[in-house]
Every structure is written in C-alpha cells, then in structure tokens.
Assembly symmetry: C2
Homo-oligomer: 166 residues x 2
DNA sequence: CAGGGATATTTGCAAATGCATTTAAATCTG
DNA sequence: CAGATTTAAATGCATTTGCAAATATCCCTG
C-alpha cells in the first residue's frame, strides 16, 4: 500500500518530459486533493440534506438563490455546476415543494428567472449551520491569514478555468 | 443578478450569530469555490474520458492504481471518493476491458486486491497529459510559492476531514 | 471450537444524471 | 420581412449512482 518508485525514464526521452502522476505523488496533485476534500464535504452533508428532501443540486440551487436574486436557469446551472437538464428537473421538484418559483423573463419569453420563496429560505437556513460547521472543520488549525491566502488562490483559479462570463 | 444586501439582523439575536452565506459572499465560501473549480476540471476531462470509454470513477481508479499497487477495494474507494458499490461496478467494467485485474487477498479470502494491467497503464498514460494540462491551466499566473502554500493547505484540510485512516 | 457479530464485496432497485433531441422564441441575413 | 440560425428550457432515454440487503468469510468470546 505504498507509492511505487518512479519508473525509469527511457533513454530516448528528453529530460523535460511531463512528470508522471507517480512522480508528483497523489498528495501533491491539487485536483486529487480537492476532489477528495469536496467528496468528504459533500458526503458529510448528504444525511442532513436527505432529511430535508434535498439532493446536491437542489441544495446548491437554494444556496445560490439565497444570495443571488432571479437568475436565469442557464446562469444558475453555471453557479451550481450542473447540466441544465439536471437543474431543470431539480427546479421542478423545488417548485413542487414550494421552495422556489419560476417566472418567464419579461423581456425574453424563452427565458425563465428563478426566485427563492420564504419557505425555500427557511429550508436553507436549516441547512446552513451544518454547511458552516463542515467548512469550519475543514479549516481547523489553519490561521486566518492562511485561509485568506487559500481563498485568494481559489478565486484566481476560478477566474482561470471559467468558461462562462459568470 | 447581484448579491443582495445582507438582511437586517433581528434585535433579539446576539451579535455573534453565525454569519449568513450572503454575508460571507459566495466567492468567499471555500467549498463553493472548490466545487465549482472541480466541476469545471472534471467536465473538461469528460470528453477525453468518453473517447477512452472511461467514467470519472473508472478514470480515478486507473489514476490511483498507477501509483498504488494492489489496494483493497474498500481502500481504493476511499482514494477515489466513491461508494464501494459504485467502485465494484466500475471495476467490473475495467476488468472486462482488461485494464485491471482483481485477485483474492491471500490472507483473507473475503478481500480483493486490485492491480492495474499494462493496458490500463497505457490507457492512463493517454489521459494523463490532459489531466496535467487541466491542472496547469488552473494554476496559470500563480507562482510556485503560492501553489506550494495552496497544496500545503489542502493537505492540512484533507487531514482534518479524513474519516478513514488512509 | 461453536455461535454471534463484524468485515469485504456484490447485487437489486429506485432515483439521479448526462447526452441528445425537441419545442419555443429571439435574432440575424439576404 | 421570410427563412435560416441561434438561444433557452424541457423532455426521452440509457447509463450511473447510492442506499439497503444479500452473500461470504473472518474474528472474538465463552
């Protein structure tokens, strides 16, 4: 159960070859660490979400809608990182439960804007302490300065990989 | 489409109330940023993975197995952040495609150890440049020092939220 | 060393997801 | 301004996923 030694580099390859994952080491490859941390974070919320009848996209939609008022469905799908079709169905459920409502955009009748209801806000407020707690656990033993620097780097990274203008 | 102003704090609540998500701001809440960045990273690999007949857990299994030799299935599921049942089925497929093979643990016949084959290693080597590229894009314009500090914080975070001893 | 509980993995099944397509409306172009 | 093209959202369908239960094996205790 230990990292295997890096394989010998063939003689016919230049020195500046792309390093292999084994050479970097799993725990120095940022996407691996981030996926694993977020997997735990999301799993730690799943029980609480299930009790409220929420899935991950439904919860994320409520979270974003508690902050951003009346986005288009396509915009919302960017924020919550889900396919538009997934979001469309999640919104069906949230609307049926009275947690959001949809309104056709006044200026473009193809488009739909989404709003959180008071009930939706209340549901999110129930979940929020657990989310804050999960975040606090992640940052245990990390100074405010280090956390600020970390979040600053995340913001740069988001700007780098952003595909949409949102 | 702008962050709404923080709602008034009710008079009957103490000052030290848990700050709301709207007060922190979406782009200062680390889990939101990390989910969004990883969503893009994973999406950016999906096309290439699909061409190789891989799903996310299959790809992650190959990635981990290229570095760690012969883990138990349950251990592997921790690394790749998936349910054992999901991994079990992903391994069925990878084995059918000849990319891994499973062997009953000599000392415990309940347990199964997983090994990558040469073909599996070759498949992962095809994908790895795209993964390295996606990582490089994430860190564009970020200095080596900043990246090292960032990865260091990630490692602390993983230790914090780790549920298993792996 | 037998029996109860724990552990490793697989399987059944319902729900969720992603891709491709459809529907509807707006915009561009000649 | 008609027809082609683009854009927003919803829907059909096959696949994937997660939870719970089943199966097989191991370990612990009396």
């Amino acid at each position: 159960m230990t990292d295997r030694p890096p394989p010998d580099r063939p003689h016919d390859r230049p020195i500046a070859t792309l390093p292999r994952l084994g050479e970097i080491g799993l725990t120095n490859y940022a996407p691996y660490l981030m996926n694993r941390i977020m997997g735990r974070y999301n799993a730690s919320l799943r029980t609480e979400m299930a009790e409220l009848g929420l899935t991950t996209p439904k919860m994320r939609a409520l979270a974003v809608l508690s902050v951003i008022d009346g986005p288009l469905i396509r915009e919302l799908s960017v924020y919550i990182v889900a396919e538009q079709s997934t979001l469309s169905r999640a919104l069906d459920q949230l609307a049926a439960e009275g947690l959001i409502h949809r309104e056709t955009d006044p200026g473009d009748s193809r488009a739909t804007r989404v709003f959180i209801t008071d009930a939706g806000r209340a549901t999110f407020e129930t979940l929020w302490p657990r989310m804050a707690e999960a975040q606090a656990r992640m940052f245990r033993g990390i100074t405010d300065d280090e956390r600020r620097a970390f979040v600053g780097t995340l913001q740069k990274m988001l700007a780098n990989i952003r595909k949409h203008e949102i």
